[in-house]
């Protein structure tokens, strides 16, 4: 599909249900994962969102509007940057970064948010709510709400409010109400609980603008589709630049949206390895980590069957990560399925490894990455040493590090 001017639609391949495969079944399942485990009161709202999205995804008018926003507001397409000085530490492999940090608001979250904000208008709803960990999804949601004249309420764990104070101020400036969540671990998982409670109460005029590829069907599918522009662009760009597909694609995994966003266009390219990097926190042996896929077990959290950090009686175990955006004991069901099917591989990166990669990229390339994205960078360093100097690795630089200066100042004694 092309626009009237004849330029290809960046988001055009969102249309065509099933063309790219890997769509969930009618119950929202990816294999055994996904589905809906939610109060019955929310089923009609989820059905409504799913039905409207089904119409929207094949409506050229909707796709044009989305595309227009991605180009003229979010700053797409984002560039690819080769980072040879950084790659010296990766055994000489070629490393290319997909620069989602250069989007408006500074992270990949804006892609999904613009899509869902348009969907909110189609649904005739006037209020959006969202959870946020690092604050990037909250900032993106507050931004889209300001742009489209929607009321906006953001739930954020009190611990996260503190470590991402800058983003709290940004959201407020954008006109959003930020509600610190003080129960449980006071991080992302509790913010999600609180957002669900709001949604069930205000569902008649409110859309829950879910920020990652987790949660009940249809969120994993919708968020993925709005994020997959990352991989669609990157695949085209890397072919143009290097004349071939990369050997591996690396991304950080919190809930999994930036990872699925860049993986998805490569799923059918069997020669391309897909690697996801979870937060190893203080190390697997300390129990203080967010290694959901690598250390968790299959269960139900936040409306979806997936891998979960849980004890033997199904109680969620609190996660830990230096990066708020990866500090989550669940993960999107499509990743659970990619893991079990063997198509993607998931690994842990400790806080210390991530912070080393964070400072290395800053010093060698003049790019300050988000701490979340630094997990993918640390992964790429290891991967490069494994794959050798002939290898090309594509890394999703999902966001920029401005929001992390407080953490960096403490960590590096700046």
């Amino acid at each position: 599909m092309t626009t009237t001017e004849g330029t290809p639609l960046t988001s055009a391949d969102l249309a065509g249900n099933g063309v790219y495969g890997n769509d969930p079944d009618v119950l929202g399942k990816f294999g055994i994962f996904g589905g809906r485990y939610v109060p019955e009161a929310l089923i009609p709202a989820l059905d409504e969102v799913a039905a409207e999205y089904d119409k929207a995804r094949s409506d050229l008018e909707f796709l044009r509007e989305f595309d227009h926003l991605l180009r003229t507001y979010a700053g797409r397409p984002t560039t690819l940057t080769e980072v040879p000085r950084f790659a010296e530490q990766a055994g000489g492999a070629r490393i290319l970064l997909k620069r989602e940090d250069l989007t408006h608001t500074g992270a990949h979250k804006i892609n999904n948010v613009l899509g869902q904000a348009l969907l909110t208008k189609r649904l005739g709803k006037t209020r959006v709510i969202a959870e946020t960990g690092a604050g990037q999804h909250g900032v993106a949601t507050a931004t889209a709400a300001a742009l489209m004249g929607l009321e906006c309420v953001i739930y954020m764990g009190a611990v996260d409010c503190e470590r991402q104070a800058l983003n709290v101020a940004r959201m407020k400036l954008l006109g959003a109400t930020v509600i610190p969540v003080t129960n449980g671990s006071q991080t992302l998982k509790d913010a999600i609980n609180e957002a669900f409670r709001d949604w069930v109460t205000n569902v008649d005029h409110t859309h829950y603008l879910f920020g990652t590829v987790a949660g009940p069907h249809p969120f994993p599918e919708i968020v993925r589709d709005f994020a997959r522009i990352i991989g669609v662009e990157a695949r085209r760009q890397i072919l143009e630049l290097t004349g071939r597909l990369p050997d591996a694609v690396a991304a950080a995994v919190g809930g999994g949206s930036n990872a699925i966003g860049i993986f998805h266009a490569f799923i059918n390219d069997k020669s391309v390895q897909l690697h996801g990097y979870e937060a190893g926190g203080r190390g697997v042996e300390t129990g203080e980590h967010a290694l959901t896929l690598t250390e968790g077990s299959v269960g139900v959290l936040h409306g979806s069957r997936t891998y979960v950090l849980q004890d033997e009686e199904g109680q969620t175990i609190e996660s830990h990560s230096i990066s708020a955006g990866l500090d989550y004991p669940g993960v999107g069901p499509e990743h659970a399925w990619l893991k079990d099917s063997g198509r993607a591989t998931y690994h842990g990166i400790t806080d210390a490894e991530a912070m080393d990669a964070f400072s290395l990229l800053a010093r060698t390339e003049g790019i300050i990455p988000a701490i979340e994205s630094s997990h993918a960078l640390a992964g790429a360093l290891k991967l490069g040493r494994e794959l050798g100097p002939e290898a090309t690795i594509l890394v999703n630089l999902s966001g920029r590090g401005d929001k992390d200066m407080g953490t960096a100042m403490k960590y590096f004694n700046l």
Binding site: I43, V200, E313, G314
Partner: protein, 264 residues
């Protein structure tokens, strides 16, 4: 053991609604929960729902969240939930477990059903288990002779109500409002309409919960529903009590008031 069927038959014979009380296991303490539930039964509750404390209770308001948090901090485990059921069932009430799905899933559906039945439980209420995902639990419950209770909500269209009701044995739980658990100033007017919309789809009793907290509200709901479900208001009494004895007296007093309400 008192069954749900005998409870509702008895209530109908007395021309009143049944009174259903909720308390999480392990709150205020492991033994305290049995004592409080027993007091509730002695003062007029026909059915007790024992909540299985879960780390992520996304359908619950602040009062139940608070109680559940304390219970988990007290170290409540599934074995304690079963022991609580055993203790409460002795009081003569039909005793159910209300639980989010993940703890049952993890424990094993068949094992959970077997253990609950041998503890004297008569069934479960599963607020986040949808009919689409209910098959393993329906099978395990049937095998163990347990009732299954699912929820309908004011937002449920008639097809959903039919689908949910078809999964229920024992009774159908009508959530009075769109929202989380917690006592409210008044019971939502939508509740009566929801009960009316549910009737054509089931011959089972229909009970109303969420937002009921005093005798007046219980009487109002009892006029159109077969059962009145009260949770947060009992917990509030226990949370506000300076010590265990006055907590017990307070829940007893509330149960009396509610029992009088369902008989008005």
């Amino acid at each position: 053991m008192t069954t749900l069927q005998t409870v509702f038959e008895k209530a109908r014979a007395e021309n009143r609604a049944a009174l259903v009380g909720y308390l999480p296991a392990g709150f205020p303490t492991k033994d305290g929960a049995v004592a409080a539930a027993t007091a509730m039964v002695e003062a007029g509750c026909d059915v007790i729902e024992i909540g299985l404390p879960y780390s992520d209770p996304l359908m619950d308001g602040p009062t139940i969240q608070d109680a559940v948090h304390r219970s988990l901090t007290n170290g409540t485990r599934i074995a304690d939930v079963m022991r609580t059921v055993e203790g409460v069932a002795k009081s003569g009430a039909a005793t159910l477990v209300m639980t989010y799905w993940n703890p049952v899933d993890r424990y094993g559906a068949e094992r959970f059903a077997r253990d609950l039945a041998s503890a004297g439980g008569v069934g479960t209420i599963t607020p986040d288990l949808t009919p689409e995902e209910s098959e393993p639990w329906l099978a395990a419950s049937k095998e163990a002779g347990l009732g299954t209770v699912f929820l309908v909500a004011p937002s449920s269209p008639d097809e959903r109500i039919a689908r949910v009701a078809a999964c229920c044995t024992g009774f159908v739980y009508a959530a009075s409002l769109m929202g989380v658990t917690g006592a409210r100033e008044s019971v939502n007017v939508a509740a009566e309409g929801l009960v009316e919309r549910t009737r054509p789809h089931t011959s089972l009793p229909v009970c109303v919960g969420l937002g009921v907290g005093n005798g007046r509200q219980a009487a109002e709901v009892a006029a159109y529903a077969d059962g009145v479900i009260v949770g947060s208001a009992f917990i509030r009494r226990l949370l506000d009590a300076p010590d265990e004895a006055s907590g017990l007296a307070a829940v007893r007093e509330l149960a009396h008031e509610l029992a009088e309400g369902v008989r008005r």
